[in-house]
């Protein structure tokens, strides 16, 4: 009896470990930026390229920063959730348009000068927002993705919850589902807004 018991226990332990391992999401990398001040930037706005936006303007407010791009397929998946959120007006949503042209493999941006790149990026991004609805208070352009690097972006879409003091309180990688929105993001926003 004892002869078979230990291998059996070992086998069950192995199965449990494998099952847990398979159900973990390898994309869910904990961000070291949670609890740190949101990196500063100053980027042109999509709907008013002459004006820039900086996170400092949101001091004193709880807000969401959503990283998106028109070439990003999962962004389309989460978009209805964002549009719903915008209708409810519970929390300001700022869009960070990530590498609108450079992220699209089909375009060779080496041959485009920066001014043309910005113009084309705005056309594409604004066109996408016009088609799918614009949930953003405003959106800014991160053409070369350097602001994205400062925020540790590695898979669009990503969403950050930033508190009144400008500290990142939560990061979500991947599309926001209605469950994640109402179960995790909204309660956190409510708590931070107190």
């Amino acid at each position: 009896m004892n002869k078979f018991l230990w291998p059996l226990i070992g086998f069950i332990v192995l199965i449990v470990l494998l099952a847990v391992g398979l159900n973990l999401n390898p994309r869910d990398v904990p961000s070291p930026l949670v609890g740190k001040p949101a990196p500063l930037f100053s980027l042109p706005q999509i709907h008013a390229p002459a004006k820039t936006f900086s996170p400092q303007e949101m001091q004193g407010k709880v807000w969401l920063l959503n990283v998106w791009a028109s070439w990003c397929v999962s962004c389309r998946q989460e978009h209805p959730v964002l549009v719903e959120l915008a209708k409810s007006k519970t929390v300001p949503l700022i869009g960070l348009n990530y590498k609108e042209l450079r992220g699209d493999g089909g375009i060779d941006t080496d041959k485009i000068n920066p001014a043309t790149e910005q113009k084309q990026a705005i056309e594409r991004a604004a066109g996408w927002l016009a088609r799918h609805g614009d949930p953003y208070t405003l959106s800014v352009l991160d053409l070369d993705g350097r602001v994205g690097i400062n925020y540790g972006v590695y898979g669009v879409p990503e969403t950050y919850v930033i508190d009144k003091a400008g500290v990142i309180r939560m990061k979500h990688t991947g599309p926001i589902t209605p469950d994640i929105f109402s179960g995790k993001i909204l309660p956190l926003v409510a708590e931070l807004s107190k």
Binding site: V29, K99, R146, I149, Y154
Partner: protein
């Protein structure tokens, strides 16, 4: 003839396309060597089992460019490592630092080996005891001696 021209045009076209794919060589070889050395130690977050130096992902390209820029700014390797870790976390390093959350990672295999050795030694010892615990009785001993002697006499 027309067909041949068409094929030739296609062939030339593909050569041009390939030429475009080649990544621009960095001007400075020293910078490039350091960049490769650093990015060998870093994980590409898009394709997680590839190093940053070997990955073709867009983000890997951007990060290599960023590392080049930092090298040109005169940053040390440790500072560049900090730059990456402060944005992407310890996960980005193939050799994460030893701390509470990585203890299992660093010492787990050794602990497992020790446990296995312990089990093996115990098992072998116990089996030894079992064998020596079953001595021959006098009748068996006589039979064994007879067999052994018989064998010797045959040789």
């Amino acid at each position: 003839m027309k067909r041949w021209l068409f094929i030739l045009a296609l062939a030339l076209g593909s050569i041009v396309a390939q030429a475009k794919e080649a990544a621009p060589l960095a001007a400075d070889e020293v910078v490039e060597k350091r960049m490769v050395a650093i990015s060998d130690e870093l994980r590409c977050l898009v394709c997680q089992n590839e190093s940053l130096s070997g990955s073709h992902a867009e983000l890997a390209n951007d990060l290599r460019r960023e590392i080049r820029t930092l090298i040109n700014e005169g940053k040390s390797d440790a500072e560049i490592m900090d730059f990456m870790v402060s944005r992407y976390g310890d996960f980005v390093r193939y050799r994460p630092p030893v701390k509470g959350t990585t203890l299992l990672l660093w010492f787990g295999p050794a602990a497992l080996l020790a446990l296995g050795l312990f089990g093996l030694i115990r098992y072998v010892r116990r089996r030894n005891d079992d064998i020596s615990d079953a001595p021959l009785n006098s009748e068996e001993q006589r039979q064994a001696d007879a067999l052994l002697l018989h064998k010797d006499s045959q040789q």
